[in-house]
């Protein structure tokens, strides 16, 4: 077990220990990525030696851990490439997509960036590279500039959402590195994006 996992488990345990009975009534949602559930065992109760007749029956509330733990966390891959695939696959980090020839953020793009900002704020050990990309329909030189504007728009939104600006760097690839090599609207839509890439600090 590597240190990251150890540290994570320690954290989960700590959160579980401070859980109070009140927590349970909140009926909080479990997320798919939860990997650690508090064991379903009763806590040890010390019985005073002078009173063997009277066993203490812990209350139900006190004994049972929540069946739906409030803790959501991930065992994050150490490899940066795997890490980026993981956070994208799990929807923890979401790219922002743009309309044709536009650098303004749609409400959908804003929602996706809010999701990304929330994860980044609770995972401060990672920095972020925002890549601006364009579809092939424009010209290369103008698109390099357009990609720069897209990347910056995404960065600005993340910063406004509470991510420290010093953690975010931008770069524009224009239309030089398309995600989808196709030549139709489906491909173009995929290629107009601010791509969020986690990088080590």
């Amino acid at each position: 077990m590597n240190n990251a996992v150890k540290g994570f488990l320690t954290g989960v345990t700590a959160v579980a220990l401070v859980m109070t009975p009140a927590c349970r009534s909140k009926n909080t949602k479990v997320k798919d990525e939860a990997v650690h559930v508090q064991p379903d065992t009763a806590p040890t109760v010390t019985i005073p030696p002078h009173d063997t007749a009277e066993r203490v029956q812990p209350s139900e509330d006190f004994v049972k851990p929540s069946a739906e733990p409030t803790v959501t966390a991930d065992v994050l891959p150490n490899n940066t490439e795997e890490l980026n695939r993981y956070v994208q696959d799990k929807g923890l980090i979401k790219d922002a997509f743009f309309d044709y020839a536009e650098a303004t953020l749609s409400s959908e793009a804003q929602a996706d960036l809010t999701t990304s900002a929330n994860w980044l704020k609770s995972n401060s050990k990672y920095n972020l590279l925002v890549e601006g990309h364009c579809d092939e329909r424009g010209t290369e030189q103008y698109n390099l500039a357009l990609g720069d504007k897209r990347a910056q728009q995404a960065k600005d939104y993340l910063v406004a959402s509470g991510v420290d600006a010093s953690r975010i760097r931008t770069v524009s690839y224009g239309e030089e590195r398309p995600f989808d090599p196709g030549h139709d609207e489906g491909a173009w839509k995929q290629n107009r994006r601010a791509h969020l890439v986690l990088v080590g600090k």
């Binding site: 010209t139 030189q141 504007k149 690839y173 030089e176």
Partner: protein, 435 residues
């Protein structure tokens, strides 16, 4: 090794046969060019008796790299038309007269031991003969086998200069970006697409090369450091320096035709604008300050004006400003996407990429009367025009084959020739000075 060969090739001697090289015919470049007929028989392969250490050369050694290159150059010159000739008749004034040509080019080629390099040089002796027995041009060229195409380009350049008054552009070169090694790198080729050679080896996306006015250096953009930076490299691939700007983007870099400024697109906080910087990374100046996208600066040939692309009207359009950033005026009004403006060498026309019916074509705007025309450039998208240094040709990229490849055509859109076919190739920039 390859570079060493090229260096040796560049050092070949062009010994002028001074007594015979008077120019007798000059076509006024401003007049409609009268095309002159020239007979070019295959060179004679018998060394002159006066030459020491001379030996015959096999015809196959010189056929493709010399004779074919020479005749292609002359045929493309716009000054000469190559006259059909009967087989096995040596070049002479009489031959020219008999077949109704204006000139015959008499060439003799042999090898000669070079005492300094201890290698065999190729020697080419060329004499241009007119129908009266006169010799308006004569010159001897010497070089290694690897420099045969360079000798052919030199000879064709000199013949055009002798008759037309202006040299041909056959020694010009086209810089471009190619992904044939798996990564986009900067490459270089002769004007006819021959001798394609790799200039940069970043192993990272490297694009948008642009020549210095003396043809000695190129400036381009590479992502070698993970960010996009400008680099300057000499035309043999050496002497690389990074131009430090402290800005983002650093794209579309282009040398001033006068002085040592570089115009480029820089960005601060996602606002791309046109900037200038000296080639030693000093004296950064901002020329535009619009909140919209500005890109793709290009100097007018006299260095007084800069064209650029701006999205300030809502769509990318071409603008021109004075080199100090003042006096901005819009140039393109047709279509909803125009970019890649390039000035003709005489400064009177702008060629640019213009979207027409959903695909890009090359448009040429006459800056004097404001009229523009689409050059018939065939299928696919046609982008990134680059003028030849004599203003007669335009190189461009097209995806008509399904891949991006480089082509050249005359400014009237005729004589389209594909120049590249390995990997994908784009962003041509033609050397500036006629050599």
């Amino acid at each position: 090794m390859k570079r060493a060969l090229i260096a040796v090739a560049l050092a070949f001697i062009a010994a002028s046969l001074a007594a015979q090289s008077q120019i007798v015919t000059t076509v006024d470049p401003n007049q409609a060019t009268k095309v002159l007929k020239i007979a070019i028989p295959f060179p004679e392969l018998t060394p002159p008796a006066t030459s020491t250490n001379a030996a015959p050369v096999a015809s196959e050694v010189i056929h493709a790299p010399f004779y074919s290159v020479l005749t292609r150059d002359i045929a493309a010159s716009g000054v000469f038309a190559i006259a059909p000739i009967p087989p096995n008749v040596p070049a002479s004034s009489n031959l020219a007269k008999q077949i109704g040509a204006d000139f015959a080019l008499k060439m003799t080629v042999w090898t000669e031991r070079n005492a300094q390099t201890n290698a065999d040089d190729i020697v080419v002796e060329a004499r241009l003969l007119d129908t009266t027995g006169g010799q308006p041009f004569g010159k001897r060229y010497r070089g290694v086998v690897a420099s045969l195409s360079l000798m052919a380009h030199s000879l064709s350049t000199d013949i055009v200069r002798a008759i037309y008054g202006k040299p041909g552009i056959f020694l010009s070169r086209i810089a471009f970006a190619s992904d044939r090694t798996g990564t986009w790198e900067i490459w270089l080729m002769d004007w006819d697409g021959q001798n394609q050679r790799q200039i940069t080896q970043h192993g990272a996306l490297s694009i948008l090369p642009s020549w210095s006015p003396d043809n000695e250096r190129m400036v381009y953009t590479s992502f070698a450091r993970g960010t996009s930076d400008m680099y300057i490299v000499n035309r043999r691939g050496g002497g690389r320096i990074r131009v430090a700007t402290n800005l983002a983007l650093n794209t579309s870099a282009t040398f001033s035709p006068v002085g040592n400024d570089i115009a480029f697109v820089g960005s601060v906080n996602g606002n791309p604008d046109i900037y200038l910087i000296k080639d030693d990374s000093t004296n950064l100046r901002r020329l535009t300050s619009s909140a919209t996208i500005e890109s793709t600066p290009e100097w007018s040939p006299n260095g007084r004006q800069i064209s650029f692309t701006s999205g300030r009207s809502g769509t990318p359009q071409i603008y021109v400003m004075d080199a100090e950033g003042t006096n901005v005026r819009r140039i393109s009004f047709e279509g909803e996407w125009n970019d890649d403006a390039a000035w003709s060498p005489d400064g009177e026309q702008l060629a640019y990429t213009s979207r027409v019916n959903g695909r890009f074509q090359i448009r040429i705007m006459n800056l004097v009367d404001g009229q523009s025309r689409i050059i018939a450039a065939g299928e696919g998208s046609n982008e990134q025009p680059a003028w030849s240094p004599d203003g007669r040709w335009i190189a461009f990229q097209s995806n008509r084959s399904g891949k991006w490849q480089l082509y050249r055509m005359r400014v009237d859109g005729n004589d389209i020739q594909q120049l590249t076919s390995t990997g994908e190739n784009k962003e041509p920039d033609w050397s500036k000075k006629i050599e």
